[in-house]
């Protein structure tokens, strides 16, 4: 079956304004959008730029705006997009070229929340014990692949690029609710100020956008609650 793709194009340092390219590709309804993008790149237009690697929704390379919502190109099928598909880069990150965005600021925010376990005391000879229930407490947020789909679907982030954003909060949540971590106070201090969790207006775009099905808004809510209890 034939699919028409409209792709937003731009090259930093060359184009003053973005423009659109239209392509027609032959595809199976069960093909991934990534397959269609490859069909274009490999057989029609080698200049089209996008990132990809694992092609099955784990590496997080190919988040993009597809028919107006953030998706991983490798995890959305053509049959779910219809015969006319509009593809744009994620919103709110500077565009390097076509669907490739500059993610440096995104990763800087990730680093800012100290994304590593800070336990108390020296480790035991074997593993630290953790009950299945304690492990379950933060299971959802361990799934994050740092693709950027949540952060770039967030209107609060669009209006204020300094907002730390859902992805970094999800990553902080993963440690805040890990029974082995002892740096709750230190992390909450990082998330409390103006550009921290309170920028979240509970719009739920992030949760809809997450290709890993993480309850992002709920996780942010739990971090807000932790901050409130702490200040009492």
């Amino acid at each position: 079956m034939k699919y028409r793709l409209r792709v937003k194009r731009f090259e930093r340092g060359k184009d003053r304004e973005p423009y659109w390219s239209e392509y027609e590709v032959e595809g199976e309804p069960t093909d991934r959008l990534l397959d269609a993008l490859h069909a274009i790149k490999w057989h029609q237009d080698g200049t089209l730029a996008f990132r990809r690697s694992c092609a099955h929704g784990i590496c997080g390379s190919d988040a993009m705006l597809v028919n107006g919502v953030n998706r991983l190109a490798c995890k959305v099928l053509l049959k779910d997009l219809g015969p006319r598909i509009t593809v744009e880069p994620m919103r709110g990150f500077p565009v390097l070229k076509d669907l490739v965005t500059d993610m440096e600021a995104f990763f800087a925010k990730y680093r800012s929340i100290k994304p590593y376990l800070m336990p108390e005391g020296a480790p035991p000879a074997k593993e630290r014990l953790q009950s299945p229930a304690d492990r379950e407490r933060f299971d959802d947020t361990t799934k994050c692949i740092l693709c950027g789909a949540c952060t770039t679907s967030c209107p609060s982030f669009w209006s204020n690029p300094d907002y730390v954003g859902p992805a970094a909060i999800v990553q902080a949540h993963r440690f805040l609710f890990d029974s082995r971590d002892a740096a709750t106070a230190e992390r909450l201090v990082l998330l409390g100020p103006r550009d921290g969790v309170w920028r979240c207006r509970t719009i739920y775009n992030c949760t809809d956008a997450c290709p890993r099905g993480i309850q992002v808004t709920r996780a942010i809510g739990e971090v807000k609650k932790a901050l409130l209890y702490k200040s009492r």
């Binding site: 069960t30 996008f50 694992c54 590496c59 390379s61 480790p123 361990t142 692949i145 740092l146």
Partner: protein
């Protein structure tokens, strides 16, 4: 074009588990990590089922049993001193990961949970053992995240989205690398005392593969181009359960939790091929069994797949312990694995061979283990050899971490004891020519070859003639086909001429790497006239320890021809026996 020069004591190429583990163990030194992808995109992240270590949390286990299983699984080609290190150090490595925060699944007592995996047994082969330590079915994702977190904590210096083009060797020592910054098309020379190759595998030489698009054998190819050998490249593992046509991995953990394989007649065919371990036999044996069933017409509905059935498992086991593969099957096949069996076929998964190293990751070049000072390799790009002719499931994660760490530690020692080797004159000349050739556009009439066409033909012919079953005839055909493709590669031109994020250029360079690696794989397979582990020659169906209990070393001589040498296998505790499961 202007070249940017850098000097760092050590350069690590690749930011998956092996590269990051080494980087963390070099914390405080002047180390640059070059990665073709953002580090969290590395392929370590797609490993699913677990990391093997004899913790004994679920039932009795010993590292000696793990060592034996690794050696038997390797069809006795693993170097046994290396397999011993792997099995012993796996245990402390898993505890280290836990201490760094890795969210392992837990037993009721709160210990690290473990499950069964192919070829892992108790008491030297008596029956399956629960040895695979897991975090649901995203163990690799959690390992990659955890080691990346530690590298952030230790302020590792990253160069993200840099593609290595050339390995610099001068006066017989490592001197650095040349790399392309993908974002702006700039060439960079990195002068270093020590270089660690940790760039992963080369599964993209095959059409159906579990491997990411990025796995184009870069580290192996630049080593070969530097005049150094590759070891045991004829051994390429096909994982039995890739999603039909797509090759996406369905973890062996699915069978570890009780999943079963059925052919088109509804028969549990593994009863014929591995009566003791059945669906938990090692991967080479199951992949071959599936190919036999398919070739004899017992695929499902006459098609090129069999069924992996999980429908008899408790829904909670599937949802809690195998959530990601459940999601893949629902997303890509529209099938609910709770209710319907999954169509699977063998998928190209893992290169047992690679850049030859000793047990500290030092690259060696001959049968006497002569070291190239300052050059290291770890992870799938390397061949220690711990996996021999066939790797056991969970052992790749052990390998990257154990030997990544050992490499990091030995590089630390090397940096203290050594100064920089001089850079070769005009170090970026070769890389510059390579890049300019593609960017310059088609000469004369404009009729260039396309990257995609050459690559697709390579992948198809490798899949057809150099995969699970091989013969002299099929391998000769693929060897000749690769020669023709290499000639066409000289005429490859790209459409994108820009310097900004030119993935057209990246793919053209990667195709050159793929062709080199495929050529060596086939040369090794053609030379090895026996069947061992993943290398199965229909014209030589038996293992031949008298003539072939040895590693192959293939390098390209200055005339361009491939030359083969051999290296003995280190045997310590376990004499080779017939391999039955």
């Amino acid at each position: 074009m202007e070249i940017i020069h850098h000097q760092h004591e050590a350069v690590i190429v690749g930011a998956g588990g092996a590269g990051l583990m080494a980087a963390v163990h070099l914390a405080g030194r002047d180390v640059a990590v070059l990665s073709k992808l953002y580090p969290v995109r590395s392929h370590t992240g797609t490993a699913q089922g677990g990391i093997g270590a004899a913790l004994g949390n679920e039932e009795e286990d010993h590292w000696e049993w793990h060592m034996f299983d690794t050696i038997k699984g390797s069809d006795y080609l693993a170097d046994q001193d290396a397999a011993e290190i792997l099995a012993r150090e796996a245990v402390e490595t898993v505890y280290d990961l836990e201490h760094w925060g890795l969210p392992f699944s837990r037993t009721a007592e709160g210990k690290i949970a473990q499950r069964r995996f192919g070829g892992h047994t108790r008491e030297f082969g008596k029956g399956p053992v629960m040895r695979s330590c897991y975090a649901a079915d995203r163990t690799g994702h959690m390992i990659l995240q955890t080691v990346y977190q530690q590298s952030i904590k230790n302020q590792v210096h990253f160069f993200d989205e840099y593609l290595v083009l050339e390995l610099l060797i001068s006066e017989g020592r490592a001197a650095g690398v040349v790399a392309l910054s993908v974002a702006d098309g700039q060439l960079h020379v990195f002068h270093a005392k020590a270089v660690l190759l940790a760039s992963g595998g080369c599964g993209r030489i095959y059409q159906i593969t579990s491997n990411a698009h990025a796995l184009t054998g870069d580290g192996m190819a630049v080593t070969l181009r530097a005049g150094l050998p590759l070891e045991d490249m004829e051994f390429f593992q096909f994982h039995p359960t890739g999603i039909y046509k797509m090759g996406i991995l369905i973890t062996e953990g699915a069978r570890g939790e009780g999943g079963k394989l059925f052919n088109g007649l509804g028969e549990r065919f593994m009863e014929k091929y591995a009566p003791t371990l059945l669906d938990l036999a090692p991967r080479d044996i199951i992949s071959r069994a599936i190919y036999c069933e398919l070739r004899e017409g017992r695929g499902v509905q006459g098609k090129w797949y069999v069924h992996l059935d999980l429908t008899h498992l408790e829904p909670e086991v599937i949802e809690k312990k195998l959530p990601d593969i459940t999601d893949f099957v629902r997303t890509y096949l529209g099938i609910d694995p709770l209710k319907e069996p999954i169509p699977v076929q063998p998928t190209a998964h893992y290169a047992m061979g690679g850049v030859p190293t000793d047990n500290d990751g030092r690259v060696v070049v001959d049968e006497k283990n002569t070291v190239v000072p300052g050059l290291y390799a770890a992870g799938e790009v390397a061949c220690v050899s711990v996996h021999g002719a066939n790797r056991l499931g969970t052992n790749s994660l052990v390998d990257i971490l154990v030997f990544g760490r050992r490499s990091g530690r030995d590089i630390g020692r090397f940096l203290r004891e050594n100064d920089y080797a001089p850079l070769p004159p005009q170090p970026a000349e070769g890389a510059q020519e390579l890049v300019e050739r593609f960017r310059a556009g088609a000469p004369g009439n404009g009729a260039g070859e396309s990257v995609a066409a050459v690559r697709e033909e390579l992948q198809a012919v490798m899949m057809d003639k150099a995969s699970v079953f091989r013969t002299a005839e099929s391998l000769t055909e693929v060897r000749d086909a690769i020669r023709a493709l290499q000639e066409r590669y000289q005429r490859v031109r790209i459409q994108d001429r820009s310097r900004v994020f030119n993935t057209d250029l990246v793919e053209a360079i990667e195709l050159g790497f793929l062709l080199d690696v495929a050529e060596v794989t086939v040369a090794g397979a053609l030379a090895r006239q026996e069947s061992r582990g993943a290398h199965y020659r229909e014209d030589f169906p038996k293992r031949d320890d008298v003539n072939w209990l040895k590693h192959s070393l293939i390098h390209r001589d200055p005339s361009g021809a491939l030359t083969m040498k051999f290296k003995p296998v280190v045997i310590t505790r376990f004499q080779p026996q017939e391999r039955k499961y």
